[in-house]
């Protein structure tokens, strides 16, 4: 079971591109690249004219930028939790609350099913006076297994987040 890695992949790709572009600009500016003079213009006049004269090239640039914008928009939505938070399971939440009925002051107990029942996300908040150890043991040995069986089967992975309020 792994944490969502999309953000790290995205950051690594953007970081590598920026690092590469920055290193190239620095090396080129310091005249450390053979055959590429530092006094040359960043955008040579000939290239600018060639692109300006052929409008299809600008349309192609716009298309590439549009595709990239959609890719980054998808990344943004995913990083904001789109499709990763899962749907709330009423049955699971009820089973969780019944299983922990001995814990006084239990709040925010939720069970979410992520994706096509690929993972369970369970969250609960206990009061500071609660015996968190027995709560964790109960969850591990009884409650999560029961919820998994109800939602799908015993092979379902589950992440439980326990918080303690004041």
């Amino acid at each position: 079971m792994r944490q969502y890695a999309g953000n790290r992949v995205g950051l690594a790709v953007v970081g590598t591109l920026l690092l590469g572009a920055g290193a190239y600009a620095w090396l080129r500016g310091q005249d450390r690249l053979d055959g590429l003079p530092s006094r040359a213009k960043v955008l040579p006049e000939r290239t600018a004219h060639a692109v300006a004269e052929q409008s299809w090239a600008l349309w192609a640039v716009a298309l590439v930028l549009l595709v990239l914008a959609f890719v980054t928009l998808r990344w943004l939505l995913l990083s904001l939790g789109w499709g990763r938070r899962g749907a709330r399971s009423g049955t699971g939440t009820a089973m969780l609350c019944v299983g922990l009925k001995d814990v006084e002051g239990l709040a925010r107990a939720t069970v979410r099913v992520v994706g096509e029942a690929t993972r369970l996300r369970i969250g609960l908040t206990c009061p500071a006076t609660a015996d968190v150890g027995s709560v964790a043991t109960k969850l591990d040995r009884e409650i999560v297994s029961r919820i998994r069986r109800e939602v799908r089967d015993d092979d379902l992975a589950a992440i439980v987040r326990i918080h303690v309020r004041r």
Partner: protein, 199 residues
């Protein structure tokens, strides 16, 4: 020398996959704030630039992104004016790359489980609160503060002037018992400090 791990293909993997490692993998920070920021900046920048280029091609510039000025600047600037910009870009890139590669510190402390498919984590704030509550239950303790360090837990208790050394032991035992009860992994040793009130 041939070891058992080399003979059995699955044995090495099974030996390395400890509960702590498994929990760390599942609870590793997802780098959400940085990702949201970078993705939002890129989406806005790329989207607006696309709109600007398309509108310019259709003969009506929107004026949202100064593409013309950027092209004019690139046409008159030479590479030897760029090293500071290059260094700044490389610095930002290295920072993003580090964020992606460094595992980071999870906001959840992993808790031991018997089922390898179940990962339980308690929030750092939550663990602090439960330990503080248990330390404050010891007779004579007026106030307690808990700090979670990388390899140890520091508990500072404020007591009255009549406090004794045995109180330290009681607090240490209570906190240790609660930690053992919760079954946290990777919390390290407990250090208890006593501060007398009114001295």
């Amino acid at each position: 020398m041939t070891t058992l791990q080399q003979i059995l293909p699955g044995a090495a993997v099974a030996a390395q996959d400890t509960p702590l490692r498994r929990s760390r993998r599942a609870l590793r920070p997802a780098r959400t704030p940085a990702a949201v920021l970078v993705a939002a900046v890129l989406t806005a920048g790329l989207g607006l630039t696309t709109a600007e280029i398309v509108s310019a091609l259709l003969g009506k510039s929107l004026g949202w992104v100064p593409v013309d000025r950027a092209v004019a600047w690139a046409s008159r600037s030479s590479w030897n004016e760029l090293p500071p910009v290059g260094l700044a870009l490389a610095g930002v890139g290295a920072a993003l790359l580090l964020l992606a590669l460094v595992p980071g510190r999870s906001r959840l402390v992993p808790v031991e489980t018997t089922d390898p498919l179940i990962v339980v984590g308690i929030t750092r704030v939550g663990l602090r609160r439960t330990l503080r509550a248990v330390a404050q239950e010891v007779d004579g303790v007026h106030k307690a503060r808990v700090r979670l360090r990388r390899r140890r837990i520091e508990v500072t208790v404020v007591t009255g002037p009549e406090s004794s050394g045995s109180m330290l032991k009681q607090v240490g035992t209570a906190v240790g018992d609660r930690l053992a009860g919760v079954g946290t992994l990777e919390t390290g040793e407990v250090v208890v400090r006593l501060r007398r009130k009114g001295l």
